[in-house]
Amino acid sequence: MSFLPEALRLLREPLEERLRATTEADVSRVLGRERISENDFLALLSPAAGACLEALASRAKDLTERHFGRTISLFTPLYVSNHCANRCRYCGFAATNTIPRSKLTIAEVRAEGEAIAATGLRQILLLTGEAPHTAGVPYLEDCVRVLRPLFPSIAIEVFPMETKDYARLIQAGVDSLTVFQETYDPTLYADLHPAGPKRNYAFRLDTPQRGAEAGMRVVNIGALLGLTDWRRELFVTGLHAAWLQKNYPGVDVAMSLPRMRPHAGDFEPACVVSDRDLVQAMTALRLFLPRLSITISTRETSGFRDNILPLGVTRMSAGVSTAVGGHAKPAETGQFEISDGRSVAEVCRMLRAKGYQPVFKDWEPLEVSA
């Protein structure tokens, strides 16, 4: 079983035409429905739906509050290695970029963990570039073991693995997997990933389900918005999330909506995703998948993050450094530039002022092997 045939079917459809043909009257009809179908979801992503943004936003807010309450789950990424064998044209860590490369020792990982834990955070996202020979499964297991006493929830955003490797990491204490397809368009995917293991579109596309099969509690997917037409990308990503929810009902499926940010490479966004577009993308997604967890990262500016908060967001990163070892010592070059540089305490203050409760811990880990 794979989402691949479904993705290819969707991509063969004349999505642009259907998006263009959608009228405001079509959108109003969709907004009157209790259940949003695949076709309805496409209508909500259309340019015509852009004119009904307020109606989308109010329904999205209502659904989010009913399902998640006025709470926002907080986490921070911890970059442990920036070695990478890939050449993704949009990324600062690409093998072709001449940036200092480093990989934290386990003692350094512990120091980073302690610095993060001191801010109050209890959920962490462990990141590496894609270099299984430098920072592979055994290294990640060691990282997880030193971090587990500090963090009840550990997520990974590393290279795609086989199911058995995910199972090993779950045993060590990992509970969540993040993997971005970047783009669902296979031709563009081939162009943006000229060399390295990431060239394998199908293997990457099936990664979330391998994680789900291994027993990940949370599986977070996403497309990098700006690489191509966002409406098409979001439609296919949304259907990927729906497919995962349907086939792995025990998994908490989550999605991130990252927009392109400046980085050390030379790639410029092919399409600009405006603030309005991102609001439409997120609210349409919320109406289609009311129980989906949605993450907004510090790629976005503080002002925008504050305003978009009620419209569907359930998780946020805070106190972020995208450089390896950036929490315990001064930062080197990060993977991309962040926009919201506020500390955890500052983000919490903002959340409380807006009537939201920051949630630091949202899972009680059951016994894992020592």
């Binding site: 509050e65 309450g69 709470t71 929810q245 009902p249």
Partner: protein
Amino acid sequence: MKQNDTFHIGGKALTSRLFTGTGKYGDDTLIPAVCAASGAQVITVALRRVDLDKKADNVMRHIPEHMVLLPNTSGARTADEAVRIARLARAMGCGDWIKIEIIADNRYLLPDGYETAKATEILATEGFVVLPYMNPDLYVARSLASAGAAAVMPLGAPIGTNRGLRTEEMIRILIEEMDLPVIVDAGIGAPSQACQAMEMGAAACLVNTAIATASDPLGMGRAFGQAVAAGRAAFLAGPGAVATLARPSSPLTGFLDEPGGAA
């Protein structure tokens, strides 16, 4: 109305039949005031959210002393996970009450009856007061009863939907058939719906989302407290029979009583 309508469950005597929750509040410091306004005496708390290492910033700190703590196993996908969470709750000093929530369906958050019955059996044997969240299914309710549940907690509608008593007929059957208290949990979005459940004979209602996400949680808590009490009072008063047939002023069978009518 009957005096002293106390609800006895798990060795406790409760005067309020509204149970409430701690999840979904924008600000946990509201909890004590909501408890006071609503009169609720039982409060459920998701153990997954409690951070033992951070006592200062902990939801438990906001729960008034007099409340009966009902830790729940939210996040558990199997009986085994629920059992481990329950034991953890007891070890933490949360008492013996446990609300079993076993959900392996993240789209609709529907409870798994089979796993719930397994966990109930294990935990009841260990001396827990087990309150299982369930689909309103008579067979599941019976297996929970024989597994040792102290009550059953059927859903009125899926969690967080605020859709009210969508499962009314099934809940009615549980109330008629079960000797255990039936506590309606999930889906109740308005005080009128809680009142209706109580009029039907539910033993109590658990309401979280509708209170926590109201514009005025205190006002909504108070309204729910009153609605639950009103519904209970109506149930005890025994509503008059509802006439299903019209009573015509010249009855169709009136001729039978007339002189010279049928013999």
